[in-house]
């Protein structure tokens, strides 16, 4: 096969950049992937879909909620199902920091959570959120998370 000269240059350029870029690309791919996980969790939470949330966690994940001891994934799933059955959530986040380092990554975000109970009572909570990830056979799974409410700005 004989490519025109310009075509050959393009091919060469693509080959070269693919040789030079793997490390950067891996980090960029990782960042996009962990951001996508956070987006997916937020969407599932707002849709009341506990299974859609839990699917993103490693089986040995440890969840560190404020005001109660750490819980494992099974207990967290049960809590989520109860919580989502009793309340309607509007959960919004802003990702403030993403670090992808080899097989691990972390995301720090702020959140705003508006909650309406079945009685119609509405509450609002703002806070900070840290999520750690581990790459499990190509998938970024949540290994741990912690959050803490912060008072709303006056």
């Amino acid at each position: 096969m004989s490519l025109p000269r310009v075509g050959r240059r393009v091919v060469l350029g693509v080959l070269l950049s693919s040789l030079l870029a793997p490390v950067t690309l891996a980090a960029q791919d990782g960042e996009a992937a962990v951001r996508a996980v956070v987006d997916s969790i937020v969407a599932a939470l707002n849709a009341g879909d506990a299974a859609g949330i839990v699917a993103h966690y490693a089986s040995d994940a440890s969840i560190l909620p404020p005001g109660e001891p750490a819980v494992g994934l099974e207990a967290y799933k049960a809590e989520l199902e109860q919580h989502l059955a009793d309340n309607t959530s509007v959960f919004e986040t802003e990702i403030l920091d993403v670090g992808v380092h080899g097989d691990i990554a972390h995301v720090r975000a702020s959140y705003h959570h508006s909650l309406t109970t079945s009685d119609g009572e509405e509450t609002h909570e703002m806070g900070n959120w840290l999520i750690t990830f581990r790459n499990v056979e190509g998938d970024w799974k949540i290994s741990g998370e912690i959050w803490a409410p912060a008072p709303a700005a006056m």
Partner: protein, 178 residues
């Protein structure tokens, strides 16, 4: 009155505690140690981060603000209780205030998990904080947990990039009886 003291104490603990690691040693750390054993001293992130946690605890229990601050990256972020603190200068000020508010406070840190990849790691663990609030006669203890992301610097020492902490018990509500 006593209730509000407890509440204050919990908040200040939360603001203070987000801490550090030590642990079971990530699998990758063990692999790296094996690979490097022939030429360089073994690298065991789990052991290094257990040491980091021990130094954090020792510095805290000694009220050593400089020692604690040295365990954070210049651009580190901590959140704990209801506060978010950005940068090691602000973190230093937070420790100064915390020790003023709770002189003699003691902490015991336990690391439950380390996962690492090269010069980066996550650590999870728990803490027990003990202090005697002003006006109280008996010391009071609270438990909580932490999660953080850490970086091994060129000199081999670890610093926190992010650490976060919260208490196992909810803060007391304003106006609660007792």
């Amino acid at each position: 009155m006593r209730k509000s003291l407890i509440c204050l104490l919990i908040l200040s603990v939360c603001a203070l505690v987000a801490c550090a690691p030590a642990g079971e040693g990530g699998e990758e750390g063990a692999d790296a140690a094996t690979e490097n054993a022939a030429e360089t001293p073994a690298v065991d992130a789990g052991a290094e981060l257990r040491d980091y946690a021990a130094r954090w605890q020792a510095a805290y229990n000694a009220g050593d603000v400089d020692g604690l601050t040295a365990l954070y990256a210049a651009d580190a972020v901590r959140f704990a209780g209801n506060s978010l603190t950005e940068g090691s200068d602000a973190i230093r000020e937070q420790f100064v205030t915390a020790f003023e508010n709770n002189p003699g406070a003691q902490i015991a840190i336990e690391v439950s998990r380390v996962e690492d990849s090269g010069d980066f790691a996550h650590v999870q663990g728990s803490w027990t904080f003990t202090a005697t609030p002003e006006g109280a006669t008996e010391p009071m203890s609270f438990t909580g947990k932490f999660l953080g992301a850490y970086h091994r610097q060129a000199d081999g020492s670890w610093v926190a990039m992010v650490d976060a902490s919260n208490a196992d018990t909810p803060p007391a509500q304003e106006g609660d009886a007792s």
